[in-house]
Symmetry: D2
Amino acid sequence: MSPNSENLRFGIIGAGRIGKIHAQTICKVVSNASVIAIADPVESAAQETASKFGIPHCSAHFEDVLNNPDVDAVAICSSTNTHAEMITAAAEAGKHIFCEKPIAYDLSVIDSALAAVEKAGVKLQIGFNRRFDPNFHAVREGIAAGQIGAPHLLRITSRDPEPPPPAYVKVSGGMFFDMTIHDFDIARYLMGCNVTRIFAAGAVLVDEEIGQAGDIDTAVVTLFFENGAIGTIDNSRKAIYGYDQRLEVFGSGGMLQSLNNTPHRNVFSGAGGIISAKPLYFFLERYMDSFIAEMDAFVKAVRLDQPTPVSGADGREPVVMAIAATRSLKEKRPVEVSEIR
Amino acid sequence: MSPNSENLRFGIIGAGRIGKIHAQTICKVVSNASVIAIADPVESAAQETASKFGIPHCSAHFEDVLNNPDVDAVAICSSTNTHAEMITAAAEAGKHIFCEKPIAYDLSVIDSALAAVEKAGVKLQIGFNRRFDPNFHAVREGIAAGQIGAPHLLRITSRDPEPPPPAYVKVSGGMFFDMTIHDFDIARYLMGCNVTRIFAAGAVLVDEEIGQAGDIDTAVVTLFFENGAIGTIDNSRKAIYGYDQRLEVFGSGGMLQSLNNTPHRNVFSGAGGIISAKPLYFFLERYMDSFIAEMDAFVKAVRLDQPTPVSGADGREPVVMAIAATRSLKEKRPVEVSEIR
Amino acid sequence: MSPNSENLRFGIIGAGRIGKIHAQTICKVVSNASVIAIADPVESAAQETASKFGIPHCSAHFEDVLNNPDVDAVAICSSTNTHAEMITAAAEAGKHIFCEKPIAYDLSVIDSALAAVEKAGVKLQIGFNRRFDPNFHAVREGIAAGQIGAPHLLRITSRDPEPPPPAYVKVSGGMFFDMTIHDFDIARYLMGCNVTRIFAAGAVLVDEEIGQAGDIDTAVVTLFFENGAIGTIDNSRKAIYGYDQRLEVFGSGGMLQSLNNTPHRNVFSGAGGIISAKPLYFFLERYMDSFIAEMDAFVKAVRLDQPTPVSGADGREPVVMAIAATRSLKEKRPVEVSEIR
Amino acid sequence: MSPNSENLRFGIIGAGRIGKIHAQTICKVVSNASVIAIADPVESAAQETASKFGIPHCSAHFEDVLNNPDVDAVAICSSTNTHAEMITAAAEAGKHIFCEKPIAYDLSVIDSALAAVEKAGVKLQIGFNRRFDPNFHAVREGIAAGQIGAPHLLRITSRDPEPPPPAYVKVSGGMFFDMTIHDFDIARYLMGCNVTRIFAAGAVLVDEEIGQAGDIDTAVVTLFFENGAIGTIDNSRKAIYGYDQRLEVFGSGGMLQSLNNTPHRNVFSGAGGIISAKPLYFFLERYMDSFIAEMDAFVKAVRLDQPTPVSGADGREPVVMAIAATRSLKEKRPVEVSEIR
């Protein structure tokens, strides 16, 4: 499309949970954007979403989206193992690309997809939505503005309310690729630099079946940043009080903390104590604002012909970090990221 | 319309700030509802909103909305002094009615509008949106569920970030009608009963021009409830830290408090102290969820042929309370609400 | 005593709960002070405290304290109905006086005691200890430093964890004299000016026996201050979550709030919510720091021959306010404080 | 002394900062205890404290304390390099021993001191006071009571307000021995088990002079516990907002967090945000309650002939951990604690 045109016309590839979210967001909330086509191998899923949001073209074949000359951009929401292939095909079709994370688990696969994008000269944005969360974004703004001086310590707490089913665990690529990858991205985003070394500790404390599936459910990852700061990420697959998404960055000039969002701001004072609300339970509630904001940013980047805020390289580096963390856990030693990168 | 039909088709009367909000809410978010007509004496305002949200019929005359046989319900968003007239005309046209608060400043005017609604047998809901705020609604749910036992004390703090322009103050009906009226409604809503006696204290401390316009800008109102509890409302036209909307209800079994909503949950710890975010600054941000929820509730009540959650009588009583408070302030004595009711 | 002497030697009159606190505070914590005599009609009580803290002189007769030439100052901790008599006798004996609040319930009795103090030229400090609470003191400092600009609104919440026994209620002088009197004092202290008009609302909601004893157990008092600000005090005899001692002062430049103190700063996040500690349960824990600080201030005032921070007039005015509130409640009207003062 | 005797008579060895605190605490607050002797090579320091608290015996030689037959117990508050020698001498003199932490930096030195204690059959308590902090103690109680189920993750944040002078850094034994040692102890205390493996990350980010002195000023230590849980400690020598002492323990049944203590509970809401108090600035204020409670516990243990709550073995293990952390930092690898223990 040419910059500054009225409306960015999307085709959505994949009508699962995240595909539906992007369809709704683009159709209802995002300005200067519309969805004109949707495809899913399960055609009924595509049809349901198409009918709900008035999307005119619907298909079981993603090629129909790519071949539609009116489609300016695609949102790739298919399963992770197809992301790289879809990126390459969409780039070759000349479509701008918004792709869910991660691009792939294999760096050479990622690299050839990114090369296709580069060659086609289309825009690519990876769906690391948490960068667009109002809390985390404001922390980043504060750090970039020098509010805490030089960063010294970073702490990210990221705990799920419930573990995924063991069947999912087996195909998830492991906790570092499935869950911690968001935290790896946020760590880079907040600190504004890369990590040089990673030490990962992990345990199976939540559910033995997860261990039997070859994964861990509890982890602490130590990050050594290029700027000299040291960070930790702690993850659990199950926090009984809900979805725990906090972080803090400490520096020479102070500390910025981001606390949990809650469904309301009420407090009950009773014989049993002073009780306030648990965190928002599910990632869809917790991060809905960020799904809107990331798409707004993508639309704006395409329309104004500017770089997207989460580039292909930004999509690759957290995969590098997940590979390093996995190796560290296995070999019980700190791993230099340069071994992998 | 007949209950359970697919979609409730709205006509909106008035395309000012609140009319635009309801248009957007109904078009973009509320389920089973659409806007098919909009009217405003300033036709360009109606046209702008019509074009933005794809509303097919647009007019300078509210009669065009009422005469449109496809319109099932109207949202009356015109200036307060026209509310009663519009309610009567809409009722006579057989339209269900959502009307912004207050109905009128004069009880006899209110009563004849409510009589027209009664006679026509249409639904009426008054726009006391704060009942639908997630914080306040959860407090009400807690009280109704017996969480705090018998209520003894109620405290409402309601302070604006900026005073309105003096020109507005002159036509606003006074602070009790313009600002406290929301708190009067919430007080009844939370306690589940009426007030029997009111004592109002007021002062001009924010802006002398408000006093010259015959109004006050600071107030404390004491409420004696039918259930024996005692309440206070405190209001200010200007809180330098933003829109302060807190309340607490204390009873034999504990206390429920509702704190301010903030744009993010970040905290900065620096040499100057531990600093967290100010309240959301403007009523549109603070209460946006409630604008959606009140309209969802209206649509549901009409479609299922159930009573609306904020009846005409619920719209009348806060006006009674505002009249009582005004008299109390003038005569420097507690006023029995039965004097007015 | 002569200013700047090494040590202020106290005699304590009354060895009940508050007498023991002052004995302990002076013996163990307060600098430049000692207790050399103690008297109580129940001699065993005096003996117990004397032995615990190594107080050399012990008696059943307060005259023995006053006649002891080594006693520089007395702490009057006897029952309220004897305070005025003790003040007069101590003044005539040339002793500096620290006296528990209130001086008396009757203004003419107060006035003759204050006249005796004036005539004798001794120091007098009344035991309104809450002025010395670190929280409230810091609020006062902030207001005095202009942190909130001109004060507009004051809210004091003061709720006890348990009602007193009905037998005590009958001799307590009523809730306004027994409980609210502290809040009347803090209101004056914070605002730095007097109250001109009072409107009191009261109810019996906690315990019918309190009503049968002629008192109330729940109250909301509206205060009109000389500086134009409006305040409210709310009281309850029973807060199930403990001793609730909060206040806020709102002004043109912001708001200062004082929250409850708690036994620890731990938070539990569980399936039932996020639970933090209840307020410190009992006034002795909550206000222990203030008992030390008020005595430090008294000792310093005597040693340096400076005015005490809570004068006889400061002891009289809250009684005036309690009389006004009692009349307001009875006559269901706002009462001008000048009617009483 | 024989158990249950009236009063435990202390001799204090060392009249520096911590010696003065213990003198004051025992003389003024702790029940059933007194100080009858004090010694310091700087005799004037001993004399000053003796005179302030009325301690009858004062000397430049610690032997005078040990040779005093009326001394039941000693509090060893001399410099760290003398602790082991003093413990041995005191044990041989048959005195019960309260000794400041750490016992020594060298395990063989510690072991011979502990052997002397064992042989003499006297009580020994090490001054890991933070176990007695009301916040941390309540967290431990909660964990022990099963409030959070099985512990999975521990996070300790421990940051000083100001770095020590470089001269001190050189003789401090390094950050892990001087600062983190408290956190090592609290980690064991909270989890109720030992650590099996340690990985330490460190940096010089606060002050280059600290690096030049061979030490670090910023650290993150990962702990692997015997119970399978994983913990982290983060330390900084300089937090601009004050003394940051927080921790959290997360388990299958929930999370317990301990937040910072503050000098007051006031909040200011102004144009610049909502500002609350910084943490208590200095360890003496922050941990004063714990200095009292640890001494109360020691006195009780001796009088009732019970085990002390912080044994010699509890004093040794944090030194083991500090050695392991130091080795891990130097060798850039996780270190098995069994290598050292």
